[in-house]
Symmetry: C2
Subunit: 171 residues, 2 copies
DNA sequence: TCCATTATGTCAGCCCTGTTGACATATCTC
DNA sequence: GAGATATGTCAACAGGGCTGACATAATGGA
């Protein structure tokens, strides 16, 4: 029972000229590369009873000290309930600290503690090591090209297009 | 209470010469790019009541017709229990079909049905579109450089280094 | 032919992390 | 003082990882 491709797709193929279909290579490479990339951190995090969500919070708080809850939510694009679950654990275990905002005391400004900074650093070192091993096996200029590609893959606004530009990553 | 960096890290910094620390830009770009990349598919999958796990199975079965369970497990690096949960749903809903192996009848060879092929194609088109929009905004040669970088990021064996080479992605 | 091994299925339960919805609190701003 | 804003919290649910244990069928070698 042979199948007929939807007309839209057939046209797309015909128009593209090139191979039978799309960017399968990059699609699969992104999957494999990202999985192995986060796998490095996963193993270390398990020693502390943390998961990826904790990692992301620690990372951004470490990178942008004084971040507010709202800014963090905007960076991560998760709900406040999801964030609060892991953030509370990070605060209770002393990896993250909070202070009331200066001008607006409703805000909680987030900072990593010394322990938090150390762990965030160790995690970054792990991931940096993989990146540098990879780049060392690539031609010069790969780093800039890869960074440009990845940046161009990002939605500057949310997927709905109705969100304020993401702070800390404007280019 | 100021913190002292572990000697190892201090040495690494001093040796590297360059900025205070690691590849924060690429680390964060990978996170944002991958999140938005899979977000495209997530929205379409929700229409079918499927998740990312279903997507991955459909994708690889569509790309490598006749794949066995063992090969799929090796590609995805998840447990058979995790795989079976989503695979069963894909088979029950008629997106994936299975036939007994030719030489070894214990094996289940997996194929996408016409519906499955159509959905896999639609998902690939979504992701390809993002990739092509991104590449269109980059300099020529970016595609090859990005592919090279991502490929170099992958563990050819498992993270433990004790797994047979991943089929279908040797270079 | 019998048996160990292999390929796969399945049940049960747990964990992490995302979601929605509802409601509480403190603070700011007008 | 009143409404808007920043945040916290409780409860419930879903998706998709995991482990452990056990079942079945087919293979392949002794």
């Amino acid at each position: 029972m042979e199948m007929r491709l939807p007309d839209v797709l057939v046209q797309a193929d015909a128009a593209a000229g090139e191979p039978p279909l799309p960017e399968y290579d990059l699609i699969e490479l992104l999957f494999f590369a990202y999985r192995d990339f986060v796998g490095d951190a996963d193993r270390l995090l398990a020693d502390y009873g943390f998961g990826r969500a904790h990692h992301r919070v620690m990372h951004f708080v470490s990178r942008r000290p004084g971040l507010t809850i709202a800014e963090l939510l905007d960076l991560l694009r998760i709900t406040k309930q999801s964030l609060n679950r892991v953030l509370k654990e990070l605060i209770d275990t002393g990896f993250v600290e909070q202070r009331a905002g200066l001008s607006d005391r409703r805000q909680r400004l987030l900072f990593v503690s010394p322990r938090g900074r150390a762990l965030a650093l160790e995690l970054s070192e792990l991931q940096s090591a993989r990146i540098n091993r990879a780049l060392a096996r690539c031609e010069p200029g790969t780093r800039a090209a890869a960074a440009g590609f990845l940046a161009a893959m990002i939605d500057p606004m949310g997927p709905d297009g109705s969100r304020p530009p993401r702070r800390g990553l404007e280019r």
